[in-house]
Structure formats: C-alpha cells, structure tokens
C-alpha cells in the first residue's frame, strides 16, 4: 500500500474528502453570514438554527407529505427564507441604527427558542434521512472510492457559492446591494427600496443556510443540535476570513475544512480545536482577517 508522509494514501484522501465536505458547509454558512452582515450589520446567530431548520423541513415534508429530496432542496430554503423574512420585518428591523450587539443577542435568543423547541419535540438524538436513490453508491476514482453523495455535496455547494457570488458581483440586484452596503441613505434617495432589500437579503442568507441543511441531512443525522455545534466553528471561519469579502468567506471555508481534515490524519487529538488555533494565530498576525480590511 502506498503511503504519503507515513500515512496510508487512502486514509489521507478520505480525510481530505471529509475535510472538503465540512469545508463546503463552512463556506456556504460563512457566505450567508457575510452577505447578511455586509448589508444589515447584524451577526446572525440564528444561522445555525436556520441550517437545522432546513434539515428538519426536509425531514418533515418527507415524513408527513411524502415530498422527497429533490423538491425539498428548493422547498426547504423557501420555507426557512419566508420565516426569516417575517423575523426581519417584525424584529430585526427594529434594531437597525442601534448597537449591532443587540442584533447578535436577538438572533441568539431566536436560536435558543428554535433549538429548545426542536429538542422538546424530537429529543437530542438524530433522525435518519436517506440520500436519494440516484446519489447512493460509490464511484472508483482510480486512487480512491468516493461515495457519490459526498461528491454531489461538494459540487452543489461550489455551484451555490459561485452562484451567490455572481448574483452579488455581476447582476443589477447585486449592484444595488453593494451600493446599499456602502451608503444606504444615498441609494434610497435614488429610489431603491432599501428596507425591502434588507428583508430580501436576510431571507436569502437564511435560505442559503437551509439549503446547506438539506444537503447535510443525509450525511449527518437530522438533529436539533446540528446547528449550534456548527455555528461557533463558522464564526471562527468568518473571523479568519474577515467579513469584508464574499469570495474570502468562500475560500476560507473550504481551506479550513481541508486543514481540519488533514489534522485528523496527522494529529487527531487537535482536530477539534485546529480552526480555533488558526483563528488565534491570524488575529495575532493580521487582526483584520486574511481577506478583511481594517475598519
């Protein structure tokens, strides 16, 4: 059996793949956080809960309405996005203009309500959710066997990340969004409905999280705790990347995911803390983050 740095090659490739998959989720979630923060100046602590909600939406519409994976991939983000729009209209919008810490505390409260309610209904244990039949099985890549579903997750997340980036950088709507990030009052004076833009942005961010949740459902179990476990790591990813740049958030997400996978191979004891250690180092060397600018 071939080895690389004293580690069997298949184990190394396997961990890199797992790292890529984790990185896909880090990238999608930190992208959503960055989009929301860019315009609303709110750190969406409920992002993890919205991710969990997406997975549960898929699970619930499968078990109560018989709606399968593919429609759920569209429906769950729509449902969660709609809930987020209501939250933004009736709660978050009251907090614009005051200390952004209150937005963090409000969304933290919302996250606790969602997590607590789902724990109450479903218990802390995970519920299984099967991958669709088209995506089961594995494919031989020559150097390793890859489960098809895992490959699909990496590709789907790449497409979603790129799509969001194009939406923001290359479309008229994205131009409004970027302009409103720079100077909301001026953009409003030009006749753009900025409050609507804020609402849609929060809805879009939450929908992204829900999409990630549906993708995650067949890999990790659908559990009320899946969001809070992930959101803190994603916060660290966001600090490392700096929230100024959309592309930065995406690249940092994949990079740290792979790095975490590699740590599992070479020094497994540190794998759960490696991202936090990197965050601390980045803060000491470059406080604004890898892609951020000093404010």
């Amino acid at each position: 059996m071939s080895t690389i740095f004293g580690v069997p090659a298949p184990a190394l490739y396997g961990q890199i793949l797992i790292g890529l998959i984790n990185g896909s989720f880090y990238a999608m979630l930190s992208l959503g956080l960055a989009v929301i923060f860019g315009l609303l100046r709110v750190i969406n602590f409920a992002h993890g809960a919205q991710y969990m909600l997406g997975a549960f939406a898929a699970y619930l519409i499968l078990n109560y309405a018989g709606i399968g994976y593919w429609p759920a991939l569209i429906l769950a983000p729509l449902i969660v996005g709609a809930i987020a729009v209501v939250i933004e209209r009736f709660m978050l919008s009251r907090l614009y203009g005051i200390d952004p810490l209150y937005g963090l505390l409000l969304t933290f409260g919302l996250a606790l309500i969602l997590e607590g309610a789902f724990r109450y209904w479903f218990g802390a244990a995970g519920q299984p959710y099967a991958a669709p039949s088209q995506l089961t099985g594995a494919v031989n890549l020559g150097f390793m066997f890859m489960p098809i579903y895992r490959g699909w997750v990496v590709i789907a997340s790449l497409v979603v990340c790129l799509g969001t980036w194009l939406l923001i950088e290359k479309t008229q709507l994205g131009a409004y969004l970027r302009a409103a990030t720079e100077n909301a009052t001026l953009v409003q004076a030009f006749g753009v409905n900025v409050p609507l833009l804020l609402t849609l942005t929060y809805g879009l961010g939450a929908a992204l999280a829900a999409f990630a949740g549906v993708l995650a459902a067949p890999i990790y179990q659908v559990s009320p705790l899946m969001g809070s476990n992930l959101i803190i790591i994603v916060f660290a990813v966001v600090v490392v990347g700096g929230m100024g740049s959309i592309l930065g958030a995406i690249v940092t997400g994949y990079m740290l995911g792979v790095l975490e996978g590699l740590t599992k191979v070479f020094y497994p004891e540190a794998s759960s803390i490696v991202i936090f250690v990197i965050m601390a180092i980045v803060l000491l060397v470059r406080p604004a983050g890898l892609f951020g600018q000093e404010e």
Binding site: L101, L106, G109, L112, E115, G116, I273
Partner: protein, 324 residues
C-alpha cells in the same frame, strides 16, 4: 460648570440613600437562610457574582464577551481538582481557581482585544469553545463525568463547611468581597478611564491612554472575578462539569445581566436571582428551559434594553427631572 455643581450636589444624597439600601440588603442576605433553602441562595450568590463580573466588561468597557463560561467553568475545574485530588483547604483551592481564571483571561483577552464590537463577541465565543473541547479531552476533568464528590473541607482548617449555614455565610462573604471589588474598580480612576473607552475609544486614545492595556486589565479582572464565582460554586455544589464551560453558560450570564440591566451595579444580581428562580420553578414542569431563556432574550432586546433595574433608574431620573 452648572452641570458639574448639580452633579456634586446630587452625590451626597445618592450616597446616603444607597448606603441605607445596601445595609438593608446585607441584613436581608444575613437573615435569608432562615427563610429560604440555603442551596438555592448559594446558587443565586455564585451566579450573581458571575454576572457582576461579566457586567464589569460589558457595562463599563462596552465589550460583550460571549466566552465567560470558560473562566467560570475553568476555575470550577481547577478548584475542584485542588480540593479533591490534592486535598487543598477550600479557600486556597478557590484562590487557585481565581489565579487560573486570571491566567486564562490574560491569554484569551490578549487575542480577543485585537478586534472590537461584534468580532470581540465571536472571538471570545470561539476561544471558549476551544477551551470546552480541551476540557472534554484532557484527563484531569474526567470528560463527560466531570469531577464529582469534591470535599467542602474545613475553611482555613477550622470552620466545617459541611454545615449548610457555615457554607452559606462563607459564600455570602465571598460574594460581598467580589461585589465590593467591582464597586471599587468601577468608581476608581481606572474605572473612569474604562468608561471613557466605552463612550469614545478614539478620543481616549488621543488623550494618550493605552486603550489596549486598560481593556486587557479589565478583561483579566473580569475573568478573575468570574473565576471566584466558579471556584466557589465548585466547593458549594461539590462538583465541576462540562456544563459550566459550555457556550450555553456564557449565554445564561449574558441573559442575567441583560435582564437585570447592563451597566448597573445591582442589575446583574436581580437578573441572576430571577433566572435561577425561574429555572428552579421550571425544573418541576415540562416546559423546555431553553425556549423560555430564548423568549426572555427576545423580549429584553425588543422591549426593554436597559433591563429591569436600568428601566427603574431611568424612570426615577425622568420623574425627578420633571419635578425639578
């Protein structure tokens, strides 16, 4: 000038009234164990001190730490280990917890003060989560089991803390010491500089203050006092577990402070009392605690951001203004 004199004239009146209130409160605390269950009172005292320590940072420096559980729970582990495995006397075990929490505060604070506002909250949360992962893995914390059966021992080798009343009065003394320390810090020149940083950091820098050092100093003090609360809790309840280091605990202390009133001296105590009472009350029922905590968070942020004590203070201030 006029504002200054008015302020000076107000001071003595405020002082005597708050001293009377303070004396009544201390008398009530001394009598409390004869009317309430001492264990619950001690729990309130520990968490009230924890919330006051947290409030020192958010209320007087304007830094929201989302990772204070690391200091509270970390100190609980250090104290429990010293008392149980090394057989230390309880007070020195608690002091070891304080020293450990202060050292952690120095390291975490040094990294975290490099960013402000929302980033500071995320960084402290991430670093405390890292500490929670470490606690899960290192052998001395005993993983999921935690350190159980910590002996209360004899305070300074004399006073038997297994007697509930003795334990209560020691806890009360520690709480009053911590509260007095915070009161002294807030009303010292150091505390005034902290408030200046909160109000306008750039101006404080331009006045020649090394803002980072003051922030780090406040962070270490806050961590040490949170450690005092955590170490005492380990002796009172005779265990230290992962619950105390996890992010939910950081959230709880934020809620206590927010509910009572950020930036008020007694707000965190009121908040801690209410949250503990509510948790005890709910423990018997079926209602999920997490949901209720979340709901209180949302209501506080949307409806009364000053907290209970803060709103009362604001109300009396307005009333006295309209009377004058």
């Amino acid at each position: 000038m006029a504002v200054g004199t008015q302020y000076l004239a107000e001071q003595p009146k405020l002082r005597t009234s708050s001293m009377v209130l303070g004396a009544i409160a201390i008398a009530a605390l001394l009598a409390a164990p004869f009317f309430f269950y001492p264990v619950m009172l001690m729990s309130v005292l520990c968490f009230a001190l924890f919330a006051c320590a947290f409030n020192l940072l958010i209320g007087y420096v304007g830094l929201l730490s989302f990772g204070h559980a690391a200091f509270f729970g970390g100190a609980a582990y250090f104290t429990a280990h010293a008392a149980k495995v090394w057989g230390w006397e309880p007070l020195s075990a608690i002091l070891l917890g304080v020293a450990g929490a202060a050292a952690m505060g120095l390291v975490i604070g040094f990294v975290a003060i490099r960013r402000q506002g929302i980033y500071f909250a995320m960084i402290t949360l991430a670093l405390s989560q890292m500490f929670a992962f470490i606690c899960l893995q290192v052998p001395f914390t005993h993983g999921e089991d935690g350190i159980q059966g910590v002996p209360r021992g004899y305070l300074l080798g004399i006073l038997d803390l297994n007697q509930p009343l003795a334990m209560y009065y020691v806890t009360l003394a520690i709480f009053l010491f911590g509260f007095f320390a915070i009161w002294r810090i807030v009303h010292s020149p150091f505390g005034n500089i902290l408030k200046a940083i909160r109000e306008n950091e750039k101006r404080a820098v331009s006045l020649g203050y090394r803002v980072d050092r003051y922030k780090l100093g406040a962070f270490v003090m806050s961590a040490a006092l949170a450690g005092l609360a955590g170490g005492t809790k380990a002796i009172v309840f005779q265990f230290a577990t992962l619950t105390d280091v996890q992010w939910q605990m950081s959230g709880e202390v934020i809620l206590m402070t927010l509910l009572g009133g950020i930036g008020t001296l007694i707000g965190p105590i009121v908040g801690a009392g209410l949250v503990i009472a509510l948790q005890n009350y709910l423990a018997a029922s079926d209602f999920p605690v997490l949901v209720l905590i979340g709901i209180i968070f949302v209501i506080c942020v949307l409806l009364f951001r000053r907290g209970i004590v803060g709103e009362i203070l604001e109300f009396t201030r307005r009333k006295s203004k309209s009377a004058a």
